[in-house]
Amino acid sequence: MILYLARRIVYAIPIALAVGFVCFMLVQIAPGDPINAIVPPDAPADVVEQVRRDYGLDKPLPVQFGLWLSKVVVGDLGRSLATGRPVWADLRSAIGNTLMLAFCASGLGFILGCILGGLAGTFRGSAIDRGATGIAVAGVSVPHYWLGMVMVVVFSVQLNWLPAMGAGPGGSSDWGWDWEHVKHLVLPTITLSVIPMGIVTRTVRGIVAEIMNQEFITALRGKGMTRRGIFLHVVKNAAPNALAVMGLQLGYLMGGSILVETVFSWPGTGLLLNSAIFQRDLPVLQGTILVLAMFFVALNLLVDLIQTTLDPRIKRA
């Protein structure tokens, strides 16, 4: 087991490197000279040449990758073309906001998914099952950016209950624990939670149905255990897999929140990416993608490690 955990960690290193390489290549595949990603288009020719040499862009690609990597590992993601500020500075506050949203949304999705999936799995084939499965399918099929718009139409435009945009009053992008901030969080959270809700419902339904069919449940029933006791047994058996799905969903939401963040002007990484795309600000694009992807790799690893430790039945070579 220790050996497996160690191997899993070691195996994540080449993956992380390769993910870094893909992010590095993003600037290379972009149309035009990669130098345009560093200097503004109106810079004089000798400055361009100077920068080209300074950044090592006249060297072969593998050398360039090495140079880039050596900067990235110490947190130097370059400077934004649009603002001239270090990418990392903008990214740091944005990541906090995205994490906040992703945590809330995946938490809500997880709770709803467990309830719906648990009910559907327990009462398989019943009307409850059909209803829950229907909600789950709708959850994974809905274009969430559209759902966000519908939410805004209903709760902001028509009912005027909740704010439609931003993360706080007056367009502030810093988080605070007061009612005004929480109100801004409600709609994006609900919107983003439908995807994990659908996926967790499907997963939990499958797991619970499988457990309920196993002999030990029949045995527990036979010896007269209460529903509550059986419920605890099912939870204990279903938890590792459900949590694993949940962990990955958190990662997907961090990467996938770009559309919802755009709809609600939520000041996170998605909005940052959106403006970077709009302004063709390649350093910001590259840095944001890199950080989010690395986060996803780390989360994948963490989920795997936790799952292996939690569930002794998982034995891997």
Binding site: P14, I15, A18, V19, V22, C23, L26, V27, I29, A30, P31, V137, A138, V140, S141, V142, P143, H144, Y145, W146, L147, M149, V150, V152, V153, V157, Q158, G251, Y252, M254, G255, G256, I258, L259, T262, V263, L273, N274, A276, I277, F278, R280, L282, L285, Q286, I289, L292, A293, F296, V297, N300
Partner: protein, 303 residues
């Protein structure tokens, strides 16, 4: 039946195939159809999708107006305006017309990347699963790298770097789905490869290519296809999402995601008109999803 010479292994195998193949395949597909017919949800979804397909194919005949022709004096009319049944958009163009025409690009962008990914992913996945060893290692490790990105992020990253445009969007979406199909294709191929009839075919002297063509593909294409149909729903949401971000289709081309984007500013004026294109994406996507589920059950594909 009373041949004097005993048939060789290959001949015997051919005979077995000849005897079994048509009967088995007919029985299988007849069973699939029978199960599909008894599934009202799948039938309803297929019917809705067929209607939508007909509507967008015959858009020029059905559409009451020109999809590009706007007018400043009739901007953002409400749903139910005479002559403009579903209202008008921010440039005064008829929504119904643009929804009909918009479906063409949305469907195209939802299906084409999956079709490309199906061909490429199946080829690579079956190769990896069948060859094993170093080839498998090489293909699957590269797949792992692309798997290490959340799919939305990967699509946005590649499209964002390449710039807006239909071609770039299709390219990036194909790249998103290829690794997913490779994984499925590889695992089902490995499952089939270890079955006895593959060994039998090899023992009777069939070449690797023949084994793949006759024995492997016939058994793996079904599951991979079902998996791919499930991806159409995701692909449609993602491609419209890219257009919504300004990365896919460019204006003034009608496309549901792009329409949703340009109408976003109108939600305070005509909220229900503004959300119509998204409803189209939703209906299409949920129908493809349920259709895929129905197919999976009818074809008895596990997983």
């Amino acid at each position: 039946m009373s041949t004097a010479t005993t048939p060789t292994a290959a001949e015997a195998e051919l005979a077995v195939q000849a005897r079994q193949a048509p009967v088995r395949s007919q029985g299988y597909w007849a069973g699939v159809f029978k199960r599909l017919r008894r599934d009202p949800v799948t039938i309803a979804c297929a019917a809705i999708l067929l209607l939508m397909l007909l509507a967008i194919v015959f858009a020029p005949l059905l559409a009451p107006h020109d999809p590009y022709q706007g007018s400043m004096i009739r901007r953002l009319r409400a749903i139910g305006t005479p002559n403009y049944l579903l209202g008008t958009d921010e440039l005064g163009r008829d929504i119904l017309t643009r929804l009909l025409y918009g479906g063409r690009l949305s469907w195209f962008m939802g299906i084409v990347p999956v079709a490309f990914a199906f061909v490429i992913g199946t080829t690579l996945g079956v190769t990896a699963g069948f060859m094993g060893g170093r080839v498998n290692m090489a293909i699957m490790r590269v797949t792992d790298v692309f798997y290490a990105f959340p799919s939305v992020l990967l699509a946005v990253a590649i499209s964002g770097a390449l710039g807006a445009g239909i071609f770039n969007a299709i390219l990036s979406l194909t790249l998103v789905f290829v690794p997913q199909i490779i994984r499925v294709a590889e695992s089902v191929t490995q499952g089939v490869r270890s079955l006895d009839f593959v060994d039998a075919a090899r023992a009777s002297g069939a070449s690797g290519f023949t084994i793949v063509r006759v024995h492997v593909l016939g058994n793996v294409l079904g599951p991979i296809f079902v998996y791919a149909t499930g991806l159409i729903s995701v692909c449609m949401i993602l491609s419209s999402g890219l257009s919504f971000l300004g990365l896919g289709t460019k204006p003034p081309e009608p496309e549901w995601g792009l329409m949703l984007n340009t109408l976003r500013t109108a939600i305070y004026v005509q909220p229900w008109v503004a959300v119509l294109p998204g409803a189209c994406i939703f209906v299409t996507s949920i129908c493809f999803n349920l259709l895929s589920d129905g197919l999976r059950q009818a074809m008895d594909v596990k997983g």
